[in-house]
């Protein structure tokens, strides 16, 4: 979308007006509704710098990022860490930018495409843990979609990026994408509450586990969640999760924790069931089990890590 002003182009090297940090631009990482994000190097450390057409939008994002990071337990990483907020002059105009921790990773949908849909429940459970922390602090992510989630290359951790949609609990969601928006699916309004994020998450789960052709077929107007239920019914990897997914469509979860424990129970129950089946002689699903085993181990590791951090 192009509003009045174009996103200013960062010079190859620049220094912040206030904090005097020097940045070398390496490449552009992507563009969102509010601005562009660049990979930069500052004193040899890689960072991501975001700059936008409207300074106010950038400042509001920083405001949300800062509020999310406030709190007793800064070790639970929900958002990329904020490193710097400053101005620079581009063509004589003062532009505001911010620098944050660079998360080297793959966009959620690309990661799933590469590694397979076995990963989907694991990633969703990780995401639910992140959302739980965000919600606890009084914020709702808003614009939840695969493009705004990264799986880190080093340790396959799910991280939320692009905080342009992050909204205070009870306010109107600031930014959304229709494909994952509760109101566009005629399933409620746009008031920021945990159930809003859980709805988007459930739609995203269906999207991640479906082939592009099937996903396209759901995009008939008007959008109705019954279309998503049809996909779930006909998809072997989604079917076991039908209960939590449908509950999320109907806003029946008060919080992310609740949905997370339902999802966990299914993953764990299923793994044991398949193992028993293998023990009794049907050996055709070896790869399947391998994937699930890895998944459950990672999950266990993640849970332990999380529990330890709490």
């Amino acid at each position: 979308m192009s509003f009045n002003r174009a996103i200013p182009k960062l010079p190859p090297q620049f220094r912040g007006k206030w904090n005097q940090k020097t940045y070398h631009v390496l490449r552009e990482l992507g563009r969102g509704a509010n601005g562009a994000v660049y990979l930069v190097s500052q004193d040899g450390v890689r960072r991501a710098v975001k700059i936008g057409a409207e300074g106010m939008d950038i400042l509001m994002e920083v405001h949300a990022l800062k509020s999310v990071q406030q709190g007793r337990d800064a070790r639970v990483t929900v958002a990329p860490l904020l490193c710097d907020v400053d101005d620079l002059y581009i063509d004589g105009r003062s532009c505001t930018f911010y620098a944050m921790e660079y998360l080297d990773g793959e966009q959620l949908d690309q990661f799933v495409q590469r590694t397979g849909t076995d990963w989907v429940p694991v990633l969703i459970i990780q995401l639910l843990a992140r959302l739980a922390v965000l919600h606890q602090r009084g914020w709702v992510f808003g614009d939840l979609k695969p493009e705004n989630v990264i799986v880190t290359r080093a340790d396959s951790q799910v991280r939320l990026i692009d905080f342009g949609g992050v909204t205070k609990h009870g306010c109107a969601v600031r930014q959304f994408t229709e494909e994952y928006d509760r109101a566009a699916w005629h399933a409620g309004d746009r008031r920021a509450e945990p159930a809003y994020d859980l709805f988007s998450l459930a739609v995203m789960t269906v999207r991640l586990a479906s082939s592009p052709e099937v996903w396209k077929s759901s995009r008939t107007e008007p959008r109705q969640t019954s279309l998503l239920c049809d996909i779930i019914r006909n998809n072997d990897s989604l079917y076991p999760f039908r209960v939590p997914l449908i509950k999320a469509f109907h806003g029946q979860y008060a919080g992310a924790e609740e949905m997370k424990s339902d999802m966990l129970a299914i993953v764990q129950g299923r793994t044991t069931a398949v193992q028993q089946k293998k023990a009794s002689g049907s050996g055709s699903s070896g790869i399947w089990i391998g994937g699930l085993f890895v998944a459950s181990m990672l999950l266990l590791a993640g849970t332990l890590y999380y529990a330890w951090m709490m």
């Binding site: 509003f3 907020v85 109107a172």
Partner: protein
């Protein structure tokens, strides 16, 4: 700062105006009355044409608002984004003006970024809590016909967005040209648009696009504005009830 009312006119059109007062002049007048004018150009394929794009940009600039040119399927989301960004911008302008009075020239730019982040948080909060009145002005000239289904959906969608705000919000929908006047009020001020509402029924399809006169008439829908006698004689089909007019006039932002 006490609770304020933000007033916006949102023009949805697909081409140039060709009748009556210049829409840029009309937008200037609206802004003068404390009403921001935003414009969305809807295109089928290709682009708007240089002339159409220029007009849309100029209307938004004169009206202190924002504009965008989109395909019908992007309309709903654009309406929400544009409205929110224009609100932010209006509040930001008021806040910077007040800061300027306290701190002198370029006050906002002179603040350290950390302080500005706090101001942004405040602007955001004010935007969410303010009253918001929006008149949607839908071009219903012949060429818009295939896009009206998308417009209708966008209206309903926008109503949901408004309902989700914490501040009080109202919207009205008008189409232009109207049967007798330059504009017909399709949905009078409401806090919630009924989904069953049909925009297309009883529409006057015509070749003329009186964008300017329609903006002038839309100004009259905002109760706080008292039209000058000359204009009221010409456009004042929607006569205002006496009462709360005038009193809000000075608090406009």
């Amino acid at each position: 700062m006490k609770e304020a009312t933000l007033r916006q006119i949102l023009v949805v059109t697909d081409g140039c105006s060709n009748s009556g007062i210049s829409p840029v002049a009309a937008a200037t007048l609206a802004r003068e009355q404390g009403i921001t004018v935003n414009v969305i150009g809807v295109i089928e394929k290709g682009d708007m044409g240089e002339q159409g794009e220029k007009e849309i940009r100029e209307i938004a600039e004169a009206g202190g608002g924002l504009f965008d040119i989109v395909y019908p399927q992007q309309l709903a989301q654009t309406v929400q984004m544009l409205t929110r960004k224009a609100m932010t911008r209006t509040i930001h302008q008021v806040v910077s003006k007040e800061l300027k009075e306290i701190l002198g020239d370029s006050a906002m730019e002179g603040l350290v970024p950390e302080k500005r982040v706090q101001v942004a948080g405040m602007v955001d909060e004010l935007g969410e809590r303010s009253r918001l009145d929006v008149v949607m002005l839908v071009d219903s000239s012949g060429s818009m016909k295939p896009k009206l289904a998308a417009v209708q959906q966008a209206i309903h969608d926008f109503s949901i967005s408004l309902r989700s705000r914490s501040g009080q919000s109202r919207m009205a929908v008008c189409s232009f040209p109207g049967k007798q006047n330059h504009l017909d009020v399709r949905i009078p001020w409401t806090e919630e648009v009924d989904q069953a509402h049909q925009l297309t029924s009883g529409l006057t399809m015509s070749g003329i696009t009186p964008t300017g006169p329609a903006i002038i008439e839309a100004i009259a829908l905002f109760e706080h504005v008292k039209l000058p006698t000359g204009l009221r004689d010409r456009y004042g089909h929607n006569e205002l009830e006496d009462g709360d007019q005038g009193s809000l006039r000075d608090h406009v932002f």
